[in-house]
């Protein structure tokens, strides 16, 4: 067979290419002149991502066009994942703005920091658009490896390195398991293309019959590997350590974007490629969802350190999102499962990056990260306290904030799929989570302040926090278009 080379459809690749171009520019400027890099890095990273965000409008996502053969898919799912990744990336850059310069973490180079952050955003966009297992894996690893390095970025602080090491070792371990699962899927179906895998499996799997043990092994390996990436219990051990040890803006970033990459990979691998096995994996995800949300929310109660508490709370939210995936029924229009998870991730980006952003804001003013440090914040800085309260209430799921709508759509999907027990579990666990989220609020409003307060100006972080607070307050009420976009997923994945 003669080898035929076809030029890729560049127009489909514009958004990720803009991000890649920004990274190259950042590194090039840094290599030429560190002083110039310090001045231009922040605006460059912001403008690059904003341009990429705008350029999403230039691609016709409804066509489901593919390029590089079928390895890169420009479909609805890719659009929503890119949208969430870029919005989170922009917000994370705003949160990082003052922190890296304020001397809190010695030895941090801003341009390299932003380049790594953008690499991770780029990787996440690639996972969203992956059409085969190799591209999916490359995106997932790019998104993760960059964050290992970011976690260790405050390398003179031992906790930062320790968190990074634990994150790295478990992440690499999980990757090996995941790739082993991919190898088995390839061996059993003879293809790495997601849609071809689904096609082949449809011919060999009969519903109601027990599964070929080799296929079951592949499914389990994939579930374990991906479970680590999204921090589902019992594969969550790295999460609290990594969140607590990392520089706070990195914690903000890694609580959202690598999770988006992880869930995008779960959707691409399980929902798209292994759809004929949905009887098996939907049940498995349901059980994982339940233990994940219970464990995360219950253990979070015992935490004094806010970053660690948010780490456990992030595990709890992973549980809610897994429940959304477990609501998968048939992948036809009207199946809300994946759409509700995408909307949840979108909502989660604003409230969680916001919550970490307020902690970074406090650290820049000389405070620590424990519950005692937020005591009496309402008296010192009423706006910051109000912002934090908004994020806490939204994470808890208080209507009419964004977090409420996120949970509402997941619960709706579960009820429509007839999984009432998971819907009830989400409601009960939200009530449990009220305990630790509201404790932050009472600390801020009803306690006396302690510690030293060092007033500084952080305009970009302030802008970011304002944006996220407003979005958390108002986006829920106008969430229609985004939800509609997310609900187009069956066109992409089935």
């Amino acid at each position: 067979m003669p080898l035929r080379l076809v030029a890729p459809e560049w127009s489909l690749l514009v958004p990720p290419l803009i991000v890649l171009g920004t990274i190259v520019l950042l590194l090039a400027i840094d290599a030429v002149s560190e002083r110039a890099a310090r001045k231009t890095a922040l605006p460059l990273a912001l403008v690059g991502q904003l341009l990429a965000l705008v350029s999403l409008a230039t691609v016709d996502w409804g066509q489901g066009a593919t390029t590089f053969g079928v390895s890169y898919r420009a479909d609805w799912f890719a659009l929503v994942v890119s949208l969430i990744a870029l919005v989170s990336g922009i917000l994370s850059v705003l949160v990082s703005a003052g922190y890296t310069e304020s001397g809190l973490e010695p030895g941090v180079g801003l341009a390299e920091y932003l380049a790594l952050l953008l690499f991770s955003v780029f990787g996440t966009m690639v996972v969203g658009a992956a059409g085969d297992l190799i591209v999916l894996l490359l995106g997932l690893e790019m998104s993760a490896v960059a964050v290992y390095a970011l976690t260790a970025f405050a390398r003179r602080r031992l906790t930062s390195v320790e968190g990074a090491l634990k994150y790295f070792l478990l992440g690499a371990f999980a990757s090996a398991i995941l790739i082993y699962g991919m190898a088995w899927v390839y061996g059993l179906t003879g293809s790495i293309v997601l849609s071809d895998i689904a096609h082949t499996l449809r011919t060999v799997v009969t519903p109601g019959q027990p599964l070929d043990p080799a296929l079951l092994l592949a499914l389990l390996l994939l579930a374990v590997g991906l479970g680590f990436k999204i921090a589902a219990v019992p594969f969550h051990m790295w999460t609290p350590d990594a969140y607590q040890g990392a520089p706070t803006p990195v914690s903000a970033y890694m609580s959202v974007v690598p999770k988006v990459a992880g869930f995008a990979a779960v959707a691409r691998v399980l929902v798209q490629a292994l759809q004929p096995l949905s009887d098996q994996w939907a049940g498995l995800l349901g059980i994982l969802a339940l233990i994940t949300m219970v464990y995360g929310n219950v253990v979070a109660i015992a935490q004094r350190d806010l970053k660690r508490m948010l780490g456990y709370s992030a595990i709890g939210h992973t549980g809610y999102m897994l429940a959304g995936l477990a609501a998968f029924t048939n992948g036809l229009a009207g199946d809300r499962s994946v759409g509700s998870v995408l909307f949840y991730l979108f909502a989660y980006a604003f409230m969680n990056i916001g919550a970490f952003g307020v902690i970074a804001w406090l650290q820049e003013r000389g405070l620590g990260t424990t519950l005692d440090d937020v005591a009496g914040l309402a008296g010192r800085a009423p706006l910051a306290a109000l912002t934090m309260a908004i994020f806490m209430l939204s994470l808890m799921g208080m209507p009419p904030l964004l977090g409420f709508y996120a949970k509402y759509y997941v619960i709706l999907a579960l009820i429509e799929a007839g999984q009432l027990w998971l819907a009830v579990a989400i409601v009960v666990m939200s009530a449990v989570s009220a305990f630790f989220y509201l404790r932050v609020v009472t600390q801020m409003y009803f306690q006396e302040p302690g510690g030293t307060w060092r007033p500084v100006r952080t305009p970009l972080l302030g802008l970011g926090l304002t944006l996220m607070a407003v979005a958390t307050l108002a986006l829920g009420l106008v969430s229609g278009p985004i939800l509609e976009l997310a609900q187009h997923w069956p066109a992409a994945l089935t």
Partner: protein, 102 residues
């Protein structure tokens, strides 16, 4: 004389993968854990090439090349983190790292 079949590749691969996995779970030295992870990744490569050989395809071989690239990238970042660690803590024992606790 027995001819080699895909099963032989898969058995070798499974054995290597399990050795690596047990190593990761039982050893306390960070570098040894890291080597075990590399062993697991190479076990996967043996599987991929075994499957490709059986299916008469190149795809699996190309996949293995990408896995090697990923392993290299992970090694760079991972060893960088270990370097930073030994400068701070002068230990490579995972159990001695317990600054981050409840």
């Amino acid at each position: 004389m027995t001819e080699l079949s895909a099963t032989h590749f898969l058995l070798l691969s499974a054995a290597l993968f399990i050795i690596g996995m047990v190593g990761v779970l039982t050893r306390r030295n960070i570098l040894v854990i890291f080597m075990c992870i590399e062993l697991m990744l190479n076990a996967v490569n043996v599987s991929l090439i075994g499957f490709a050989w059986e299916l008469h395809q190149l795809t699996g071989q190309v996949f293995a090349l990408f896995v090697i690239a990923i392993a290299a990238a992970e090694a760079v970042v991972g060893l960088g983190i270990v370097m930073a660690l030994t400068r701070r803590a002068d230990t490579v024992d995972i159990d001695e790292l317990r600054q981050l606790r409840e």
